[in-house]
Amino acid sequence: MDLFGSFALLLAFVCALYAIVGGIFAVRTRNPLLVKSARNSGMAVCILIMMATVSLVYLFVTDNFAIAYVVQHSSRALPTFFKFPALWAGQEGSLLFWSFLLSIYVFSVLWTYRSKHPELMPFVGIILASVQLFFLIMNNFIASPFKLIGQTGPGGVISWITQPDGHGLTPLLQYPEMIIHPPMLYSGYTGFTIPFAFALAALIGRYPGEKWIHLTRRWTMIAWCFQSVGILLGAHWAYAVLGWGGYWGWDPVENASLMPWLTGTAFLHSVMMQEKRGMMKVWNFWLVFITFMLCIFGTTLTRSGMVNSVHAFAQSDIGPWFLGFLGVIFAACLLAFLKNRDYLKSDNQLDSLVSRESSFLFNNLILLVACVAILSGTIFPVLSEWFTGQKISVGAPFFNKINIPIGLMLLFLTGVGPLLAWRRTSLESLKKNFGWPLLGGIVAGAIAWPLGWTDLFSLTCVVLSVFVTLTIASEFIRGAMVIRARSGENFFSSLIQLTLRNTRRYGGYVVHIGIVLVFVGISGQAFNQDKQVEMTTGTKATIGNYTLVCQAFDSTQGPNYTSERVSIEADRGTQQVMMLYPEKRFYDANQESGTMVAIYSTLREDLYVVYAGRSPDNDQPIIHIYLNPLVKWIWLGGVVVVLGTLLALMPNRAPVLAIQAASQPVTTLGGQQVIQAPVHSHGSD
């Protein structure tokens, strides 16, 4: 099976090479047979990579310890459930997994558009195959996951050996979330290859109009959604596994995932300017180029060991390869841009500073500044060492200081942007749209202050969250009321109709509500409490409204680990709310240990209990207790973001109505022409 996997990867490399060379000839000669042949070769690459991936999974499941990668990341005692995440536990496997996910995207694109857009698709195929080729070079020649274990015998003869057992999987990955989190994040990273390929192809081929944006909108949203879910699952994993009481530590690997998300978010907003007004063409091209480059840069950071990270499970010396690849991408983008920049002239101009266009400009500016701030903080230790020879650290307090105000500005724009009209917004309209939400926000702040929200940023966050929620709610209510008045249906079904008539716009609003929930959850950090206590059976500890009573301290045996576990009864007032079992596991295969945090989670707060180890003085278990308010809102916000994105991906329910309305003869009312139009108060987005 290892030979099969290696051969499939090698064949995929040859096919990718052919897809590029054949594609270039196809573009030059416009020979339809050559176009088809290059495309089929591109699809064959995908199938071969999928076969290689399946063969590596098979090697894990069948405990084939002749393969070095399997030995390093699995063991006989490892439950089969965790042999799947072992695929991406190390360098070689995670690079193959990247190729695998990319091949799913590439195959879907090549298949979906196999008989469409003949002027654009050959360019897209070449670019996609080029990206695949880079990863196939890695998979085949730099970091092959199918390497056998060799032993040099007498006379220098190498013989292949099979180990009796493997070293096991790192404990940090032995959590159910780890089966979902990396695939989600990788799907986000790889997904941005599609809009990148279409953008570069449109620029090189001087493809007219905004068609490339229409074609890639859904692909971009899918990649963005995966990236969002991946980031939130990663945060949840850090919260539930690392046991430090928080979910975001501004670790370089976390930052690496956030940066393309920020530029991707900026892109999703600014493309609307190009779609509606034919503006920001250059900007959109560069945004999508930068997003893709940040995805590659993120992988470089994670894999190269360039920066210290608690998350970097698979560090090696492949950094220069990725940096070289980044250089090639940048050069290709720059060349294409310089050669074809005359094709990117704006169709329109800005009519007013108080308009949807300007709000998008500022939204993009803030998102990009956030990205620069995170990027500079992440790589600054490296830069400082280069320039001054001194090592410095850039920790969470630095990132918080800079990014909290930026985040609040973004939250403000989340509320303001959608309610501004395209072209210009009148003062009357501003008053009408923002008066009550603004008042609501201020009243919420005035109520929150005496309730203990005395931290400036948390209070501002509450005020803005209420403001944004009310602006969005007013949009839904206003639209639904118009439909209800016209159709006579009840308010709820009018609301559903309104949403389904323009899923992109109202799905976007739902995403904004999700972001507000995430911000509310983050604002709870200002009220975190924690304490560390030594506990024996019968010992009590209190935090907030909770009393914790230690019931037992025992040891249990798992399938591939031994565990020390504390049983703690959590009471609120006189009522028992839950039994909590924080534990520490010691894995037999690799002699590593891991924490299992016990969490009692409610919408109001999380009671978070960690068994931190035994006291060196008296051998008693040390329990670290945290009370983290509002954390659940973050995960809830994530769910709402996903639902909103799915809604935005749905086709509009009643496009026929729009066509009908436009083609309907005008009716006369009091001598004036009245056109029956579908409900859209500020354009369609």
Binding site: D347, L365, S376, I392, W449
Partner: protein, 169 residues
């Protein structure tokens, strides 16, 4: 006239609530006690085990650094030293790397300045773009505006919407 009166009343109430909210922010907070001080100072320091975590948040199992460093911190605080002096002592012992934010001096000042520079440069670029857009209205755009002015904004919005839907995949 009545509408103007009710409008000014509404704005007056907005202003009053805003004033109350802003005034309430100026109320001083209570002083932190000793254990809180350790947490505050601990936020300014990094754990030196290489985990890239702030000292008070590092809880790695068998971490060789955080426990002794936290004990050291408690000891410094119990002597009544000012926060800055405690941090300075740690810098002398471990070097600048122990600081959770880059020291605000020399080349490292750039870390603090970069986001601000990015914002100012970005704002400048946005302003330039806006000025460019507003300076010269292209002839074609002018003609389009004239054409658009013949139709109501509603009709134009509907036509644009229709065009979007038709070209949407």
């Amino acid at each position: 006239m009545a509408a103007t009166k009710s409008n000014s009343k509404a704005w007056l109430s907005y202003a009053a609530v805003t004033f109350l909210a802003v005034a309430s922010l100026l109320v001083p907070r209570a002083n932190a006690d000793h254990s809180d001080r350790a947490k505050v100072v601990g936020l300014r320091l990094m754990c030196m085990c290489g985990c890239n975590q702030v000292l008070i948040q590092c809880n790695h199992i068998n971490c060789p650094s955080s426990a002794p460093m936290l004990k050291e911190l408690e000891a410094h605080i119990s002597t009544g030293q000012a926060d800055d002096l405690v941090v300075q002592d740690f810098v002398q012992e471990y070097g600048d790397q122990v600081l959770s934010s880059p020291p605000n001096k020399g080349f490292n000042r750039l870390a603090v300045l970069l986001p601000g520079i990015a914002f100012v440069v970005g704002l400048g670029l946005v302003s330039l773009v806006i000025m460019q857009w507003r300076k010269q209205i292209p002839v074609a755009a002018q003609a389009r505006r004239e054409l658009q002015s013949k139709f109501s904004p509603d009709a134009m919005a509907r036509a644009r919407d229709l065009a979007n839907r038709e070209t949407e995949d």
